[in-house]
Amino acid sequence: MSDASFDPAAPLTPSGNLRRRRAFSRFAEYGATAAALAAVGVLGIVVFAVVVHGASALSLDFLFQGAPNGIGPELVGTAEIVAIGTLIAAPIGILVAVYLTEFGTGRLASWIKLTLDLMNGLPSIIVGLFVFGLIVEATHKQSGFAAAVALAIIMLPIVARGTVEILLLVPSNLREAADALGVSRWRSVLGVILPSAIGGILTSTVLAVARAAGETAPLLLLSSVYDPSRVSLNPFEALPNIPTTIFRLSEEASPEGFTQAWGAGFVLLTFIMITSIGARILLARTRSKMAQ
């Protein structure tokens, strides 16, 4: 048997193979720290590039006029598509979440959960293809509405999951109190439980919006053929939007185009970053309030 003895009275510096093991452990720690710093670094580099290049393209003209000077129509179009998508996704998502937490047990509930999880991981281009086959094939033209439907499909799992999480945090005595008052389940949900969870529901919706605003692939298939020089509000035609504009400009090889793309990217990124950060802060605050 190999020797495990040591001199207890020896100084407390590494003995045996400890020096080597210590060095390796320290090496691993540096590696992990370096990895984390690298990730933050990449984030910084990308954001920095967007800000630096994009800021030079920004101007009031850029924000309000149409092509070739600006992306005004795209801003409006994106807002409209995302808004319609939210109007579709949010109510359905909340209803599904309410069903899962308040009423659902058994097979239907687990099927729904599975479907939601799968929807969450679906590549957005597949969603685009699906809605294409569904709507555009039938109507023979692109539309902002079709794009909104695709975004809604992407947003639905996010809203549903976040709502479920918040609803689970609602203390059960609230539900019991409502039941004890002889109020029907649906009434208590609408009147008591949802209002108390409204903060969390709102933030999940905002997170979903932040995700959807940046989705390009479905828009490319469903709302990419438009006239970028004028504002269009008709959702039954293709609406101008920011993500496809950036993509289009990046595929062309013109420097002015690139500048505009940076500018559009700057606007988009700013919006997404602010909403993401804001939503997360709100979510954390709602969670801690709920836990009290």
Binding site: M1, A4, P8, P11, L12, T13, P14, S15, G16
Partner: protein
């Protein structure tokens, strides 16, 4: 006592690890326990001097002076919240990761300052093992639980024998020898705790620290742990924190009583008294000790 080479004699005494009861002076001087004890050089494994422990601004311990002797079982008793576990964990630097932890005073281990800047705390923990209140076996097989630390240390040869020896030493071998590859999480609470003890002794540490090892176990498992203490006694220096006074009385050679004492401000834990177990329980010097051991409180 003429022609007695007292120097030779005292060297002989110091050379043996056993405490010797020596009659010094006339018999009429003898105290109630029949003779003064030789307070000579019994080796101190730990020597805590003026130890105070802070967690941030909260003080957990103040002014602890305590010697832990070699190859003895020393029990730390006292009511909850008096810093017994804090003190114990300070002996193997397990308090280091706790946020805000600060130690004042000195803890000497074989004469070396445990908190000196050049001390490697991993080395400290290799020499001073610990068993925790709640059994915490790894999610691995029984064999791998015991073999894990020796493998880290590079003790690859004779691993089977080492594992067997450790499991025997923890009085667990017979119960598990046919299922060494089974998951350790399938053992009962008492068995898991003995496995943790086996794990600790597998690397042959100098000291074993036990933080209320039986408090999470049923009475039968507790009894098996106590029997274990006796068999481990000569091989390791043992310090055990326990709430159970009867356990301390049964098992320990020396007992230290910790209590709360107010210094300037909030009360914090401190060592009230430390003596032979017999003395602590039959004729303690401090009235607070007497109150505690006679059950007047706590």
């Amino acid at each position: 006592m003429s022609n007695f080479d007292s120097r030779e004699f005292s060297q002989a005494v110091a050379a043996t690890p056993h405490r010797v009861r020596i009659q010094t002076g006339p018999l009429s001087d003898a105290g109630p326990s029949g003779g003064k004890l030789w307070e000579g050089p019994i080796e101190a494994v730990f020597d805590a001097q003026g130890v105070s422990v802070f967690y941030g601004s909260k003080q957990a311990l103040h002014g602890v002076n305590l010697r832990i002797e070699r190859s003895r079982i020393t029990a730390l008793i006292g009511p909850s919240g008096c810093g017994k576990s804090t003190f114990l964990r300070s002996l193997n630097r397990m308090n280091d990761p706790v946020p805000g932890f600060r130690l004042e005073g000195q803890v000497l281990y074989h004469g070396h300052d445990l908190y000196a800047s050049n001390v490697d705390e991993v080395e400290v923990r290799r020499r001073i093992g610990m068993v925790f209140q709640k059994p915490n076996p790894f999610p691995k097989s029984i064999y791998d639980n015991v073999a894990w630390a020796p493998r880290n240390l590079g003790l690859k040869h004779g691993l089977d024998e080492r594992v067997e020896k450790a499991l025997r030493g923890a009085a667990l071998w017979d119960e598990v020898k046919d299922r060494l590859k089974d998951s350790a999480l399938g053992l009962s609470g008492g068995q898991q705790q003995r496995l943790c003890i086996a794990r600790a002794i597998a690397i042959e540490p100098d000291v074993l620290l036990l933080d209320e090892p039986a408090s999470a176990l049923d009475p039968i498992a507790t009894a098996s742990i106590e029997d274990l203490m006796h068999s481990l006694k000569g091989r390791f220096t043992i310090v055990i924190v326990t709430h159970n006074m009867q356990q301390a009385a049964r098992v320990a050679d020396r007992t230290a009583f910790f209590g709360l004492e107010a210094t300037a401000g909030e009360p914090s834990g401190t060592l009230i008294e430390c003596a032979d177990t017999e003395t602590i329980f039959s004729d303690p010097a401090d009235p607070r000790t007497r109150d505690y051991v006679t059950g007047r409180f706590g």
